[in-house]
Symmetry: C2
Subunit: 185 residues, 2 copies
């Protein structure tokens, strides 16, 4: 039986599908929106989201929430990354970073998995890196064109889905979730 | 009997108290946090917030949610104003606005009032104005030092609480709420 990934973001589903295939797991894309609480903790957003998604579907499912945390901006845009992207976008972030020497940042991802009402399992992945000085690359989505992971010269948007998944926060969180799921079954 | 205002923001309570006194209404400050949903609609945040607050207190109470919407930034920081303030702050907003000619912005406020589980009344206030080019004034809180309401040369942070309440989004939303409450009783 396919495992349901509840997300309205097609880029996320594409990445998750590639990781799931490494485990021989088939994913079903459920493009439904769910309640996102206003919290600066991704884990809490994923937890409540997974419960909401389960309440709608009544079958085992997971959600994923992620954010870009920039050190010099006190963690901005963090858990509000998607809203900030839709408004000021990558150009806004580069403008905020003008003249700032410390360009350290990290992407975090939290996967929330729910298979009955009372229980949610949370899996987290982090990738450290830095904010580029210009927009580069056209793959991926969101902040990918301005994030360079440690050990790379290219931004996430210059990597293939497979290359990105090896390094990325989302790839790590998903692999940690799916390893657990496989080991348990 | 005093009317309960559920907010962790003392500046908001101070302003509301001054408006309520115009109506001969006494306010009680309940500094409890409540669930804020991640939505870009203030009305929805106030609605769910008021229901949550009522569920905790079991007596008539209201919450207030507000945001600064900047035209040239597609409404940023909007419903996420408080998080954005805590991270990039007024200096961040001024930096994003550097070189941008259109400085139009508006403050919106939504009051949510709940007196039984199933019913929430929403009251909204708006003030139009512009973003200043520098931080000015020390009164008020949040974005007050960078917002100049239409018809004024001073920022909100250069006005007294009473002067601000006449013009402000929050003053308008609260007066609309309290007039309704008084007329109904």
């Amino acid at each position: 039986m396919a495992l349901s990934f509840v997300t309205t973001n097609e880029g996320k589903f594409r990445e998750a599908q590639q990781v799931a295939s490494e485990f021989g797991i088939e994913l079903e894309h459920v493009p439904l929106p769910y309640l996102e609480i206003q919290s600066d903790k991704l884990e809490d957003i994923a937890k409540v989201g997974a419960q909401q998604a389960y309440a709608m579907l009544k079958r085992p499912c997971f959600v994923e929430d992620s954010g870009l945390f920039i050190e010099a901006l006190k963690g901005f845009p963090g858990a509000f990354s998607s809203y900030v992207f839709k408004t000021i976008g990558n150009l806004g972030i580069l403008k905020l970073m003008e003249g700032i020497e410390n360009r350290r940042a990290e992407f975090k991802s939290s996967v929330g998995y729910c298979e009955r009402e009372t229980e949610v399992f949370i899996f987290t992945g982090i990738v450290k890196g830095r904010i580029s000085t210009e927009i580069r690359g056209e793959k991926g989505f969101g902040y990918d064109p301005i994030f360079i992971p440690d050990g790379e010269k290219r931004t996430f948007a210059e990597l293939s889905t497979q290359e990105k998944n090896v390094l990325s926060h989302r790839g790590k969180a998903l692999r940690s979730f799916l390893s657990w799921l496989v080991a348990r079954s």
